[in-house]
Symmetry: none
Subunit: 215 residues, 4 copies
């Protein structure tokens, strides 16, 4: 049991390395095992196969991220229900962003794998799934919001893009800025930019289409 854990860890470490270097499809299990100083049989004892090894590397950080997102939105929803008026203060989301950044950079390799090397895997659509999750929760909140500020409709397509853009901002940082501190710094500016644009858009929306969300 003790030993299994050790082998498992070694395999995960060298798997991470190989997947990063070659991408999922071109990575070689043989090389991963050799690098871990373990036989292929051992890998198949511990994991179900190639994809399972990949999952073992990327899934835990991904699931943790999703939990964080859910928790954040739950809190936001709670606040929204209690307050009667939504007031936007600068830096509102900064704390959350920093939390996310910390998690992303704390599992840097796993997220790089997830976002740029997972082609051919069940995880290749992870970014999309995260965006959808956020959009879903966001739309829900907007629904609550709309009960108080009537008449306004927002373009659902634009909203979807903005969510995607926000999520992609994290990806951009992850792939262009290796230092966590610098990334956190930058993210504040980026969030600010997006929020401002968002508020602006609500105040003077483009021509609404039928697909709009009442706001």
């Amino acid at each position: 049991m003790r030993q299994e854990r050790e082998t498992r860890e070694k395999l995960i470490a060298s798997g991470r390395k190989e997947f990063l270097e070659k991408g999922y499809a071109k990575a070689s299990l043989r090389k991963i095992c050799a690098d871990a100083g373990v036989t292929t049989g051992a890998l198949y004892f511990i994991f179900e196969g190639k994809e399972d090894l990949f999952r073992a590397i990327v899934e835990p950080p991904l699931e943790a991220l999703i939990s964080m997102i859910r928790a954040y939105f739950a809190k936001e929803k709670h606040l929204l229900l209690r307050s009667e008026l939504y007031v936007h203060r600068e830096g509102d989301h900064a704390a959350a962003a920093e939390l996310f950044i910390r998690h992303l950079y704390g599992n840097y390799d796993a997220f790089i794998l997830l976002l740029t090397k997972s082609q051919g895997t069940a995880f290749e659509g992870s970014l999309e799934r995260i965006a959808e999750l956020i959009e879903e929760q966001f739309v829900m909140q907007c629904g609550l919001f709309a009960e108080r500020m009537s008449g306004r409709q927002m373009d659902a397509g634009m909203l979807r893009w903005m969510v995607y853009m926000t999520v992609d901002a994290f990806v951009y940082l992850l792939t262009h800025e290796r230092e966590e501190q610098a990334a956190a710094e930058r993210m504040k500016l980026m969030i600010n930019f997006i929020v401002k644009g968002f508020v602006e858009m609500i105040l003077s929306p483009g021509k609404a289409d039928g697909d709009g969300i009442s706001l």
Copy 2:
């Protein structure tokens, strides 16, 4: 000669299909050839190998796009040099955006391949290269701009991100909106959003760092 063209076209067609389905790495030349009703030998008579077939599919549209970008920036630069004052009018870039959208959707499969299925290819960094090209030209223009509106410094990192974000907006559309008309419509809103944010940022910039661009 006549015949070669036909075979070539058939191979490109079935190659496009297979690459789209499986991604570059997992695509099988044998399947491509069988699907085209041709032997592997024929493929190797016409193309140099797997990557060359891929290139034959994606390179022409990519090169055309790059030319369009260059031409657009050349025109912009020319205008900038003639006028004494830069005045932003809404919809300024709309025409260009529409042109790009037309090209992107006119070669839909090729760009999907390029942007989402080119891992393991010389083209896997194409998006980045396009972003760099645009950034380069953009920075150049900002330099010209700076000769007239002095003192202003803009955060180079933010500028880079905005360029990336703009480019990524096209990718977002390509991967989320199959209809060209709808995409063109949307792109106008998106461009508007970005430009507004950009102007806003110039007027009240975040704290500039040393790497800033004089504006």
Copy 3:
């Protein structure tokens, strides 16, 4: 017709080059044709295939050599029949050796091909065939010789080896001394060495076996 000859020559030239570089088996007809600026079809119009091209390069010089050898032995035989006593004079065979060297070096590439790059070809045993030819003629002469100098038996195996050694001396030069003049010079010494050894062996032969040739 004129044209055919030209194409033929170009193919032979580039074939010689490719065969020398890669050896017969690994040489590529495609490369030969490309190098000659000719299509594969043309090659098959003029030659019957890969081996036929090889033959066209090496056969003429080989046949010429064989003729020279035959002529030389015919002359020797003639002299032997006329004279009553065989008298060995130093430098006897020198003239012949020089002739052979001239021919060998005049067709240097062809003989290198023949001797070191013909594996997989009908010509891969050429050296052996030449040795056998010489041995045959040599034995015949020894038979004539034996009619006059009775009693002596020579070890047939040793004789065979000496013939082989002689032939191989030419190969040795061809593969170790690129300059014809130097090779000719050296060959005189080598011939001398062999002849001396031969005479010596006749005068005090090893124990004869049943396979001996009466001398």
Copy 4:
């Protein structure tokens, strides 16, 4: 482990057969594996590839031969240093020759492969390398010899050829006489011939050139 050894042996056996029949370049790994009753994958588990299989067949006997040569020369050198006068006795090298013959015929197939079927392999120059090794050691001994018998110069080119001729005598036997006993018998005569010629040449050398070795 037990099993691997068996598979290894089977592969070596059928590899030896196929290489002998077709030569290295034209030999087919597929056929070798089929003949051994094993899949290609098995071959690649045990060997690194085609050339590695070839190496596994020919390298051990070759290395053993080289060691034997080195040992023989070391002993000779030792004797030479102790005795004040070099006295040639007939049959001097006979024992060594017999040892070599025994080794050569004890690994008959391997040496045939090495000497006549290794084109396209790292081993294609083995004969030359052996000749160089012997020449090197031989020249060294001649140097020692020269300290006592002064004034004599020997043509280095002739010496080189004689070494080559000696080595080639073994090749000649290997390729022309399948029976070890007969070969050993013959080799004695051949060695005798060469040594006699050598001594003769020293006593009445051809005109020495500048490249001569003082003797």
